[in-house]
């Protein structure tokens, strides 16, 4: 961003001490300039230089952190419009909406769902990230609800109230949790701007149009507020898409500072139909929503949303891969079945999950397919009999089992003859096509 490697180099200590991991200050400067290193890696920078360089090398959409500790949520940091250009940085935070107008049992039920909702996929934990608490009645009810939610969950919070006093009060009681204060508007911008600075909390800005949003954001930047979250006020799917695109483009293409922040969007206020709400949320996942506020967390909608977010935010350049080796699932012995697949993370986790679920202890051989799925790898010439056979001989499985039976993926049925030729000691068994049929298959096999 802005500064060249040489310009950065001029500000560095020039001692070439190597503590940053590269041998010279110049090399470090070059890495910084291309976004391949973090400023913090050099321990010898003065605060002034840090700030100056930090500003210059910062991504056009500022990275904002809400909450603390393990449940802190990082948003923004984006540098591109399309995911094929470069990996999108920080996936959206799905956020449960609670209001002091709801009755206690509804609130408890929603919070319970929020807390228990968590999925493991491809080795990652996927779950809704934050809770938004809105005060719509009196200050004391709002305060009580904020306290309840604070006690109930460590998740990051959004505090929402049109009454600036009630909002300040609540923010003060839990400022150690670094909640997002929602929202500075034309009416209260100074009060809330000062509050956010006093408490070091991130602040949401809500305009009734993009123009108003830009004006407010500019004012807050001038006041010295650093961490902002933008709400353009759009409450329909179409307008929201337009605003999100314009905000992101302004930040990236025009370096327009007032829009260089993550956003907050409210599918929960755009429809009364939870299914439709989920669809709008999905739109925001693809097109630039950072905090996505939902009226409910239900498995049937949040799970696909989390999948969508995982898909959109994976690295387009490097498929996720696992290590090539023999994975022992359960208490294996010399008679346990032997299966083989490729090292695409998704494939590995799906297949190992099913093998595990079968309760039949098994050896799962993972061959390096450069992170490609079974058929993709086969089509790319990385998972045929010619490469599988040497792998089987070398990987060490022949010392681990007495039998010589190898289960291959059903989609690779066509290679079984060839593989038998290459591995004369082995009998090749064609497994099911879909991993979900593996438990039944393995039970039968080991019966």
């Amino acid at each position: 961003m802005g500064l060249s490697g040489i310009e950065i180099f001029k500000k560095l200590p020039k001692t070439n001490c190597g503590k940053c991991g590269v041998p010279t200050c110049l090399a470090f400067a070059m890495k910084l300039a291309t976004g391949k290193a973090e400023l913090d890696a050099c321990p010898d920078l003065s605060e002034d230089v840090k700030e100056e360089l930090g500003e210059a090398s910062a991504p056009p959409v500022r990275t904002v952190v809400i909450g603390t500790g393990e449940r802190a949520v990082k948003l923004g940091g984006e540098t591109v419009l399309f995911r094929h250009e470069k990996r999108f940085e920080n996936p959206p935070a799905f956020t449960l909406f609670l209001s002091d107008k709801m009755d206690e049992s509804e609130i408890s039920a929603k919070l319970t769902k929020f807390k228990e909702t968590s999925y493991e996929r491809v080795g990652l934990v996927l779950r809704p990230a934050m809770v938004a608490v809105k005060g719509e009645k009196d200050a004391s009810g709002f305060m009580a609800l904020v306290e309840k939610v604070c006690n109930d969950t460590d998740a990051a919070l959004v505090l929402m109230n049109e009454d600036a006093d009630a909002l300040s009060q609540a923010a003060k009681t839990c400022s150690n949790r670094k909640p997002l204060i929602y929202a500075a508007t034309m009416e209260n911008v100074e009060t809330l701007g000062n509050l956010a600075m006093e408490l070091s909390c991130p602040l949401a800005v809500k305009g009734n149009s993009l123009e108003e949003l830009a004006e407010l954001s500019e004012k807050l930047i001038k006041m010295g507020v650093k961490d902002l979250i933008l709400d353009s006020g759009a409450r329909t799917a179409g307008k929201s898409l337009e605003d999100q695109i314009i905000i992101r483009r302004s930040a990236l293409m025009k370096k327009f500072k007032p829009f260089g922040f993550p956003t907050i969007v409210f599918p929960c206020e755009m429809t009364d139909d939870p299914m439709k709400e989920a669809m709008i949320a999905c739109q925001m996942v693809a097109k630039y929503g950072s905090i996505i506020v939902l009226s409910e967390i239900e498995g049937h909608s949040i799970f696909p949303l989390l999948l969508a977010s995982m898909n959109i935010f994976t690295d387009p350049q490097r498929p996720m891969a696992v290590e090539q080796k023999i994975y022992e699932i359960g208490a294996t012995d010399e008679n346990s079945p032997v299966l083989i697949t490729g090292n695409f993370s998704l494939t590995y986790f799906i297949v190992s999950g099913e093998v595990d679920a079968s309760r039949v202890p098994s050896y799962l051989l993972i061959k390096d397919t450069e992170g490609l799925s079974v058929l993709t790898a086969w089509a790319a010439g990385k998972f045929g009999a010619d490469t599988i056979a040497p792998f089987i001989k070398k990987c060490g499985i022949e010392e681990k089992v007495k039998h010589r039976k190898l289960v291959i993926p059903g989609y690779l049925a066509t290679i079984s003859g060839e593989l038998e030729e290459e591995l004369p000691d082995w009998e090749i068994l064609i497994g099911p096509r879909e991993a979900s049929h593996l438990p039944a298959y393995l039970k039968e096999l080991s019966a």
Partner: protein, 318 residues
């Protein structure tokens, strides 16, 4: 304060392709901007949804997907009628799944006869899919072209291995073709060039970039569609300026997560709603990437996506 909306200047435009025939022609394509970017371009024909019909009764569908069609599942003609009459289908996508040599291996003439019956039974444009088996599709789709002469069906997939044989037949009998390549912009462009060399007219080509389901490789499809659109609209890549079809229903409804019941996986919520949303969100993603035709299965998912298209086609004020 005033700020300027950073607009993109588009020098390219997607070709308009008329599907079906006579009074019932539906045109797709024609966009001169990114998907739903109505503030800087025109979308004369919003994306359309084709409802799936299978040539033989499906065996491996979860009940939640089969239920709306339980009364017609063994009869493709009744099934297609139901899609149009009951669910208001804009198009039908006939999946000739049973022609797969690894399945029933239904012979080409039988498949063509079924297609003819379906095409006679409905007025909406008819899309016909083989099974991506190069040789069998050649036989089947050629027979389909012949039997349904003049109906302007949309047939495919035409791949590297069979575009010549099927393409030539399709020209002869005046059908539209789906040029199919595995998630690769260069291959997609190359195939369209080859189809052009073969004299397939430009208003008879649809791009099928192939697709995976939400959670199962969708990101690759999403990005290849976005890249094709960018090349077509911004880089004026003339051989990529065709409408895009996304045939994902069969991918979605074979995943594990649409098949698990709620008692088996309580954290995944209601099984039917989950399946519907898995399909509808896959659609939502490819729509936002730039797909023009969506091949879909569940009526409730279709309704959600239709609403979504409507909502996104309303130009925001300001």
């Amino acid at each position: 304060m005033t700020f300027e909306i950073p607009k993109v200047s588009y020098s390219g435009k997607i070709k308009e392709i008329p599907l079906g025939r006579g009074e019932n022609i539906i045109t797709v394509g024609g966009e001169s901007c990114y998907p739903f970017h109505l503030f800087e371009g025109a979308i004369p024909h919003p994306p359309k949804i084709a409802m799936e019909v299978y040539d033989k009764e499906p065996e491996d569908w979860p009940d939640t997907a089969l239920e709306p069609f339980a009364d017609v599942a063994g009869d493709p003609v009744a099934w297609a009628r139901k899609c149009v009459d009951t669910y208001g289908a804009e198009m039908i996508a006939l999946q000739l799944a049973s022609t797969d040599p690894n399945a029933e291996d239904t012979p080409a003439d039988e498949a063509a006869a079924i297609t003819k019956k379906v095409s006679d039974a409905v007025d909406v444009p008819l899309i016909v899919f083989g099974t991506s088996n190069t040789d069998k599709d050649t036989e089947v789709l050629k027979a389909v072209c012949e039997t349904c002469e003049g109906k302007n069906l949309i047939i495919g997939p035409l791949g590297e291995g069979n575009y010549r044989a099927i393409g030539a037949t399709a020209i002869g009998y005046k059908h539209t073709v789906m040029a199919s390549t595995p998630i690769d912009i260069n291959l997609a462009k190359q195939l369209n060039i080859l189809l052009g060399n073969l004299n397939v007219p430009d208003d008879k080509i649809i791009i099928d970039p192939t697709t995976g389901a939400l959670g199962y490789g969708l990101e690759y499809c999403y990005s290849v569609i976005e890249r094709i659109r960018t090349a077509a609209l911004i880089q004026e890549d003339e051989r990529l300026q065709f409408p895009i079809i996304a045939n994902f229903a069969k991918e979605v409804w074979k995943t594990k997560e649409v098949k698990l019941s709620e008692p088996e996986a309580p954290l995944l919520g209601d099984q039917k709603k989950r399946g519907v949303l898995m399909e509808a969100m896959t659609a939502q993603c490819v729509l936002l990437a730039g797909a023009d035709i969506l091949v879909m299965r569940h009526p409730e998912a279709i309704n959600l996506v239709k609403e979504s298209i409507q909502d996104l086609m309303i130009k925001g004020e300001g």
